[in-house]
Symmetry: C2
Subunit: 470 residues, 2 copies
């Protein structure tokens, strides 16, 4: 087996070396399409990007490639069945739309004219997410080359959406509408990153998100703070008091029931987090912040990856212009967001927030709470067999031990988990310096090719070692 | 004495009756000048209003009338010395500028074309404040007619400013620059009102005002609440917590030292307030509010007139647009105002607020506090002899018992108290229904003429009964 592994590695690497130039040329062609989903001017470009990808996947060998329309930007679906009918089915998720970018934002070169400098490919979308979608194309070809197959070892499906950078407004509906076609045993998300250039990692979970706006209505109009001050309730004070009551003195969220049912970190996970080479000073600089603070009894990494939070995203009420205006404002509002971890149900969190806010409502103030659509948390246990396949494939490609992270953010992949009812795994090779959403976005070419290589090893490993759901 | 009083009343009333038509015609002419100090378009009108008043005061008999320039709108000064050199000196304060007004704001007639309907004179400035300044012109003439004098019984000075509706930005400097000319034994402010049409009242105090803006700086820019949420301090949370800490559970201001040295209400004042015909439901409708709330142990009238307050006039931070934005904001701010009562020193209050805010500053948040220029509180004790003269003059005019109020607002009259170092008394005949700053501002003609009559009785009473400062 060791012999066949080595030989497989050798074939994969040779295949990648032989096709590297064409692969990069193709990627550059795709990156030249400014598929900015948030800007109506680029609507045609986003459609062009979808068509380009569908054609390229067809060329790669996928027998089925389709462009799926939405009320917004289109998604690309591709499917390549395995020869063995009992093979597991894997759905790869990514997106082909990109963040806005303009040379004058601080780019050293045209964001839509890819260029390689010092073994890095600079372009909008290089890492987020075209590069990380595209490594699967050469990956699956290398997989076939190394195994002598004519079809992948797994039933391989791709769903590459076109609205991720606009908040994926139609994604859940799209997944629900096509749930049958998308049915899979696991989802592989290639839209994240790893800890550092020299530290390959697998992300095992993503926080969920519940968001609300609370309006506080006091007097029917702004009233004079001299004539009425001190004698009627002030809605801005009510808003502030509710925000102040969000956390207790240990920086724990003080909403009754908020933590009910959450999956606590295991000792093993806490040790693995603690073992990562984490420089808190450096992290603070990235956060552009001047102190760490958070839930007592937890480290910074635990706080951002594995603990639920309550944050004020916006607060407003009364006079905010220059100088002063002696009023009691008629209304105030706060926008709150809650990051959720495994075991938390957004509906139960919403009920808990509503009950807590209603309970603290002062007499004479009217409250209106609006919740946006929530995103559920994802978490794959460390010992999940499919996760072990990802770790093994990545370890073979990088020839280093693979460590574990989570991500504090929230994403549409959770909709795939919900609707399809299957675990979500993360395979990403981007690094923090890649500049997502920033000027001079890039991808490290060595890491991009390690992504190709990991993809090449993964499908065989999954078919061989993962006893998927019957 | 009773005989001479009766005869004086009779002469005063006859004089007023004889000159009423001309008085109202003159006032209407003044009201036609749209002296809106807040609108640069009306700069010439404000100057014209000052010139008109100076000329009218000259015609009334004031030997000295001057228009005093400021960096903004001009004030009018007039002086009429008493014959007796030992007579007390009284300075009347009012303003000749008015609030903005436009027919389309909801006026039933042109705001600058005075009209009498149902014995009410409708025009912008009818009550606030041209009508209440102007009643002194006929008042002093009636005083002379009733006493056979050729000059008032007191040294009478008038200072009628032109920027009150713009916040009196240059008033204090003006008073300081002319302190010698303005020297007086008491100030009479005719820019307030009385309790109700059938309840003549004298206001005995005005709250002071300290205002600040507190900026809270967190991350150097808005940061992602998923990537960093729960692990760094949020400046909007810091702002909200400070606001929430403003009051204790008894709705008392919780800033250490805030209440130090305040002059408490006497039992007599509390009884007098409690004896006013106060309909709290009606008051709430005026406040356009849905509940009363305030410092424990005090009534609504005590809370708005005689207790210091802390109110949030504005709060803001982070994303306030439609929908949501998952950020930890870079900064937040609150605008606070504190109404002050006698015994509170704005400088000490500022120090107390700064110390309290600094004490509660979370690690990693930077705070900047800016205080605006403060206004001191005014309070005249109920037994002050000059106050008794005002009460007596008003009682003779209205033929009803005169009761006592205070005002919750704050005004530039406090600068006269500070700079000249003399008590401030209030003589006003406006009523709550007069619509200050609102469409269809009016003055009740009967009350306006009672103002004339009160002014006619006051100067003799002050000269006779008030042993002023030597």
């Amino acid at each position: 087996m060791s012999q066949s592994v080595d030989s497989a590695v050798s074939v994969v690497r040779t295949h990648i070396e032989q096709h590297r130039a064409a692969f990069l040329d193709d990627l550059a062609e795709w990156l030249r399409i400014p598929s900015v989903s948030a800007q109506p001017d680029h609507e045609a470009d986003v459609r062009r990007s979808a068509d380009w990808l569908a054609a390229k996947l067809k060329e790669t060998g996928f027998p089925t490639t389709e462009v799926w329309g939405t009320p917004g930007a289109p998604a690309v679906f591709a499917e390549w069945p395995a020869e063995a009918p009992e093979a597991p089915t894997v759905l790869v998720y990514g997106h082909h739309d990109v963040q806005p970018a303009a040379r004058e934002d601080g780019w050293d070169s045209d964001p839509f004219e890819p260029v390689v400098r010092e073994n890095r490919l600079y372009a909008r979308g290089a890492a987020d997410d075209k590069g990380q979608v595209f490594f699967h194309t050469l990956g699956v070809r290398a997989h076939l080359a190394a195994t002598g197959r004519t079809a992948p070892a797994v039933n391989l499906k791709l769903l590459i959406e076109g609205e991720e950078e606009s908040g994926s407004p139609h994604f859940r509906a799209l997944v629900e509408a096509h749930a049958g076609r998308l049915a899979a045993d696991a989802v592989i998300v290639s839209d994240t990153g790893m800890w550092a250039e020299d530290t390959p990692t697998v992300c095992t979970g993503m926080r969920g998100l519940a968001e609300c706006e609370i309006q506080f209505h006091g007097p029917d109009q702004d009233i004079h703070s001299g004539a009425f001050g001190g004698a009627v309730p002030n809605p801005a004070t009510a808003a502030a008091r509710l925000v102040a009551a969000l956390h207790d003195e240990h920086a724990r969220v003080a909403i009754p029931g908020f933590y009910d049912g959450i999956v606590e970190l295991t000792d093993q996970e806490r040790e693995l987090f603690a073992g990562l080479p984490f420089d808190e000073e450096q992290w603070l600089r990235t956060a552009k912040s001047y102190a760490t603070q958070g839930e007592a009894g937890h480290t910074t990494l635990e706080r951002i990856w594995a603990r639920p939070t309550a944050e004020v995203n916006g607060i407003g009420g009364g006079y905010q212009g220059p100088g002063s205006k002696t009023i009691i404002p008629s209304s105030a509002m706060v926008k709150l967001s809650f990051r959720l971890v495994a075991g938390q149900d957004p509906d139960r969190v919403e009920q808990a927030v509503r009950a807590w806010a209603a309970d603290r409502l002062p007499a004479g103030i009217r409250q209106e709470i609006t919740f946006a659509a929530a995103t559920r948390p994802c978490l794959t246990p460390l010992d999940h067999p499919a996760l072990q396949c990802v770790v093994r494939a990545m370890g073979r490609a990088f020839e280093r031990p693979v460590r574990f992270t989570r991500t504090g953010g929230s994403g549409p992949a959770a909709d795939l988990q919900d609707v399809l009812g299957v675990p979500v795994l993360f395979l990403g090779i981007s690094v923090p310096s890649d500049g997502w959403h920033a000027p001079n976005e890039k991808v490290e070419l060595d890491l991009l090719l390690k992504g190709v290589e990991t993809s090449a090893y993964l499908w065989g490993d999954l078919a061989e070692n993962w006893r998927h759901a019957p």
